[in-house]
Structure formats: structure tokens, C-alpha cells
């Protein structure tokens, strides 16, 4: 049974590797961000599967931390890189 879980984990890792094409091709930063979001969830699933098949409960904590911090990169992207940040930048230039 643990072989089955490792097999699924392997399959999910193959999914990540295939999805890398989207990170490399883009075209926009939003697409790359999107791929990252999928990888994050897939990584959580892989960690949970490995935790069960190698019976290493600490890996669930690693998955928990991954799931907890998944928003951070996206919020940073939206706030620091996107149109919102351009507006902020323009305002700062004006007021200076």
C-alpha cells in the first residue's frame, strides 16, 4: 500500500515537472504565478503522501507550513509587482 502512495507521489512530481513549461514559457507573470500556485498544492499533496508511506509524521508539519505560506508569494506579487504597485509608484513620484 505504501508503494501505491509513493507511486502517486511520483506521478504528482511528474505533473510538477511538466508544469515547469508554463513557468518557462510564461507568457505573463500572472501565468507563472498561477503555475506556482498549482505546484504549491501539488507539493502539499506529495508531502502528505510521503508522510504516510515512510511513516514520518513530521512531514505533515512541513505540508502544513507550505499550505500556510502559500498566499504570501501571491500577495507579494499582487502588491509589489502588478498594476497596483505601478499606481503606488506613480503617486510617490508625484508627491516627491
Amino acid at each position: 500500500m505504501s508503494e501505491f502512495f509513493i507511486g502517486i507521489a511520483l506521478f504528482l512530481l511528474v505533473n510538477i515537472v511538466a508544469g515547469l513549461v508554463r513557468i518557462i514559457r510564461g507568457p505573463s507573470l500572472g501565468d507563472r504565478m498561477l503555475a506556482l500556485q498549482l505546484f504549491g498544492t501539488t507539493g502539499v499533496a506529495i508531502l502528505l503522501l510521503l508522510a504516510e508511506s515512510f511513516s514520518e509524521p513530521p512531514l505533515r508539519d512541513v505540508a502544513l507550513v507550505f499550505a500556510l505560506l502559500a498566499v504570501l508569494a501571491m500577495v507579494a506579487y499582487v502588491k509589489l509587482v502588478g498594476p497596483e504597485s505601478d499606481e503606488r509608484h506613480a503617486r510617490r513620484e508625484e508627491s516627491a
Binding site: 500500500m1 502517486i8 508544469g19 499533496a45 503522501l49 502559500a70
Partner: protein, 98 residues
Amino acid sequence: MTNVFSIGLGLLGSLFFLAGTFGLLRFPDTLSRLHALTKADNLGLGLIALSLAIYNGSPAVAVKLFAIWLLAMLAGTTNCYLLGRNTLQKQQQQESAS
């Protein structure tokens, strides 16, 4: 019997991940790709977590898996909202510029 359940759920979950990757690679623009990913996020991870919880059998582990799934869903939904709005804003910017 529990093994059959967890194998079935695990396979189904990985199918959703496959669908998500397919959508990510094949769909034409950002917003439709966004639409494909929410499935992998919510259902793929949920089914795999359920499969593992059934196989493991311990209630404490099940609660933890459920919490991780909830967190991932929370992150997934807000990420989708943020990215969708961001993409729309960008499109509007480009339209008003041209």
C-alpha cells in the same frame, strides 16, 4: 475494504491534479487557466487527503489532514481572487493605454 476506498480516492485525486496540469498547459489565456487550477486545488488535494485519512485511520491524523486541506483551500480561493483581479486590472490598463 478500506484499502479499496483509499486506492480509489487516491487515483481520483491524482486525476484531478492531472486535469489541473493539463489546463495549465493547454488553456489559451490566464483567466481560463485560473479556472482549471481551482479544481486541482480543492478537489485533488481534498481527495488525496481523504484517501490518506481513511488509510491511516487515526482521528488525530484525520483532523490534521482536514486542517491542511482547509488551509490550502483558503489559500487557493484568495490566490485566485487576487490573481484574477490583477489580470483584469492589467487588461484595463492596456486597453486605456492603446
